[in-house]
């Protein structure tokens, strides 16, 4: 399974991956590139990853969710250059009941943000460029907020 994609994410295909006749509830999440971050206009982003570890962490997160709830999970994260409105991350979870589908969907996005080694370079309308999170503080233990969501 490949969780990182340099091509635009296909949300409909991701949802179709988890659908099945015994799963009546599909929850999903899309993180889109916003046009601003911390009050500054953003023109585009570049996502990069420590790819083999990012793939491994995504696989662990999906597996954890599927063990914890009776759900099927699909997850994809875009890397490379993204424009405003592009999907950076897409998650779909399907279950017999909506409680499990929502819980698993929420778990996956939280864990992706917390654990998957992906970084984001923002290109601002004023011409400046910044690694999001990395530029803010040098005691950089905690994951940065995402401009996407």
């Amino acid at each position: 399974m490949t969780f990182l994609s340099s091509a635009p994410l296909d949300f409909a295909a991701l949802v179709a991956q988890v659908e099945a006749p015994d799963r009546g509830a599909v929850a999903s999440f899309l993180g889109l590139v916003r046009d601003h971050h911390a009050g500054r206009g953003v023109t585009r982003l570049e996502y990069s990853a420590y790819a083999p570890m990012a793939e491994a962490e995504c696989a662990k997160i999906v597996s954890e969710a599927e063990v914890r709830w009776p759900v099927r999970v699909a997850l994809e994260h875009r890397i490379g250059t993204l424009e405003i409105g592009d999907a950076a991350v897409a998650i779909a979870t399907a279950a017999a009941h909506r409680d499990e589908a929502f819980a698993a969907c929420r778990y996956v996005i939280e864990e992706v943000k917390r654990r998957v080694p992906i970084w984001k370079k923002e290109f601002y309308a004023d011409g400046t460029i910044e690694w999001v999170g990395a530029g803010r503080a040098l005691v950089g233990d905690s994951p940065a907020g995402s401009s996407g969501s």
Binding site: G31, Y47, S48, A49, Y50, P52, M53, A54, A56, H77, A88, V89, I109, V112, K113, R114, R115, V116, P117, I118, W119, K120, K121, W131, V132, G133, A134, G135, R136, A137, L138, V139, G140, D141, S142, P143, A144, S146, G148, S149
Partner: protein, 88 residues
Amino acid sequence: MPSPSTQIVNVRVLLFAGYAERLGLETVRVALPAIATVADALDHVRSLPGGEQIPPKPLCAVNLTHAPLDTRLSEGDEVALLPPLAGG
């Protein structure tokens, strides 16, 4: 001739995103005493030009798994210094 592996571990340290830009390097090869930890590999990288801009306790991984700074290193390990994550 004694094997160097009893005295020394050779590891690769990978740098990413802002850390790689600050040092102008993506990979650093380090030979460390056999009892070394991630913190020792980090100390070496922080002693390089630009390395002081890496925080004293960054997020780290060993062999593709998140690992605390006191993780013992073995020959051939791949250590990664991870700037604050921004996926999602």
